[in-house]
Subunit: 350 residues, 2 copies
């Protein structure tokens, strides 16, 4: 009988951050694809678009005028999913009908006044200003008594529900800790209580020895494909030091985060020579006024593309009703991403 | 100060099936949408397509010829994500690198030889034959010692990753219980131990009293919008009797399931007058040889559309990194679905 081997045989991998599983089917990407293909929108964008509500000097939907910002710009989302003044209240009927009002603040962060750029096309010093703003926002919002969690994220590309190509991200800060970081909190705590070290610290140490899934390393951060990655080219940026949240980062660390964020997204763009869509975001300690030695800051990247610039992975029937499934191994994905140039493919076109 | 009211104020609702939360932002669908729009593919399809690998008499990719089937037809997926003969094996390194080989069987079920139909356009008697086949397959696959869970599902529409419009569904049967039914198992068990009744039985009883979220009711089944629905028009079909799995259903119950499945999808099609895309599937008792009095069979429908036939809800940044979020209340969705005709919109065109 054959010996089990992860390159050839379907298997499940365990995600120690969420205690969930992913089904890995190594060779399934070989099946022919006759399904939906995405549009590639590679039109050349102007540096300033008079119709863009994120460009400097333009009017937004509520009538406000954006300032003539030169680096980054943050404002409250005109169609916020959360309000800070939602009246407190609760419904509780037998544990089957449970609801709770939620207070929060939603903000939009413009990464640059340049309508035509994205993170991988910006200078490290410009990306550093985005990280600076993340830090300020985390501290400002987190200091409010109503806010116990600050979720910073970016939806990039129309396939990821982004309705404006101007480089920007969002912050949704709220009174509850959302499910995903809450699951991680439970696992991090259990691990820390047992080992007196952070789960991600130990994980990173082992990954740096194994080298198989490492993509990029600098003085303070590592980018890798997690062992339990669900999306085809999912990655994670992890801090070398067990930083709990953005508020604890010094200038060098912020610069290193900016650099690796840029380096990683350059490789993403190079993979299919297209502006690579993804949702990304930072998981970090809740701002609930409690110490969180178990927490270890990291940034997840969930990109949908699988085969090409136009064919994505669909997380549908089995994935929604069973658990996520992937069609290539994380090691194959890491190898492909690692083999790409560190220079953006459009660089020599300019 | 205002009183908390779920129609106006952002709130979280608890899903007692998975112990997860959804953020409900009642009025967010009012924001303008400049993002991705889907293609509507409403071409008239032929009754038989010589190029379709699911049509009767045609050749499949592996060279096999489909029989001239008259009702339903089931075969092993030519690009299966699981194999029954995957060698057993395990990796376990410190709880951080955990993997296990997985055995399984993937099958495809053609609902009808008619290439041009979908469930809402078929007769109840034809849909009943699909339910008959589900039952047979659940029993046959579930009886195998290697199979501990049988996931029956349907991806409908290219926006849900379906690559062939021929009416069909799938079965992925495997040795592990996937995460979603495993979560439900835990909650169902805890509830049953406490109350000696099934969670969904009690939930259904209360919903039938409240009436707010009920869509359709027949002798044996109810279709409703769950209190904790995450997708805009998510629904659930629940059996009135606490049936644990398809194997326990008699002829009347199978007929009633076929009827409500058809009735619900007719309303779906009527909502935006388009063949309504969704992923749907049955959650039922594991086939692990153990009694499961806590289990209560139900069918989930996860449809992506939000505003129109072409604008879907994106479960992206916040949703992937925080928790699901919805832009209208489940009650509003129920009201809209309930107000639609029980007759298919194409009916009077024929
Ligand atoms: O098996 P199919 O129809 O080729 O594939 C479809 O359903 C599968 C099961 O939900 C998914 O894993 C695929 O991403 C999707 O495209
Ligand atoms: O806020 P936006 O960019 O309008 O909306 C986008 O991101 C949100 C947060 O992930 C999602 O809820 C929306 O579905 C998506 O379209």
């Amino acid at each position: 009988m054959n010996k089990f081997n992860m390159e050839d045989h379907p298997h499940r991998r365990y995600n120690p951050l969420t205690s969930e599983w992913v089904l890995v089917s190594p060779h399934r990407a070989k099946r022919p694809w006759q399904g939906q293909v995405e549009k590639v929108s590679e039109e050349q964008r102007p540096e300033h678009d008079p119709n863009c509500y994120l460009c400097a000097g333009n009017e937004r939907i509520g009538g406000e005028i954006n300032p003539n910002y030169r680096d980054t710009f943050v404002f409250t989302n005109d169609f916020a999913a959360l309000n800070i003044d939602a009246p407190a209240g609760e419904v509780q009927d037998d544990d089957l009908f449970k609801a709770k009002s939620e207070q929060g603040i939603c903000r939009v962060i413009c990464f640059s006044p340049r309508h035509d750029l994205t993170i991988p096309q910006m200078d490290v010093s410009a990306v550093k200003k985005v990280v600076d703003l993340w830090q300020e926002q985390y501290l400002e919002l987190g200091n409010r008594s109503e806010i116990n969690y600050v979720q910073i994220f970016e939806n990039k590309g129309s396939v990821m529900g982004c309705s404006n190509p101007h480089p920007h991200g969002q912050i949704w800060a709220q009174s509850s800790v959302p499910d995903e970081p809450a699951k991680e909190s439970v696992r991090f705590k259990a691990y820390f209580e047992k080992h007196s070290r952070t789960l991600l610290g130990d994980y990173l140490e082992k990954e740096l020895q194994k080298k198989e899934r490492i993509l990029i390393e600098n003085d303070h951060f590592v980018a890798l494909v997690p062992y339990w990655a669900t999306w085809p080219f999912e990655t994670m940026i992890v801090s070398k030091r067990a930083i709990q949240h953005l508020g604890q980062m010094d200038e060098n660390e912020k610069e290193a985060l900016a650099a690796i964020y840029r380096d990683l997204t350059i490789r993403y763009d190079n993979l299919f020579e297209v502006s690579f869509p993804y949702s990304a975001g930072i998981h970090q300690a809740p701002t609930d006024g409690i110490e969180h030695p178990e927490w270890h800051l990291h940034m997840h990247f969930y990109p949908p593309l699988l085969r090409s610039a136009t064919v994505k992975k669909f997380m549908v029937g089995y994935e929604m009703l069973g658990n996520p499934q992937r069609d290539i191994t994380p090691e194959t994905s890491a190898e492909r991403l690692r083999s790409l140039s560190a220079l953006h493919y459009k660089q020599n076109l300019i």
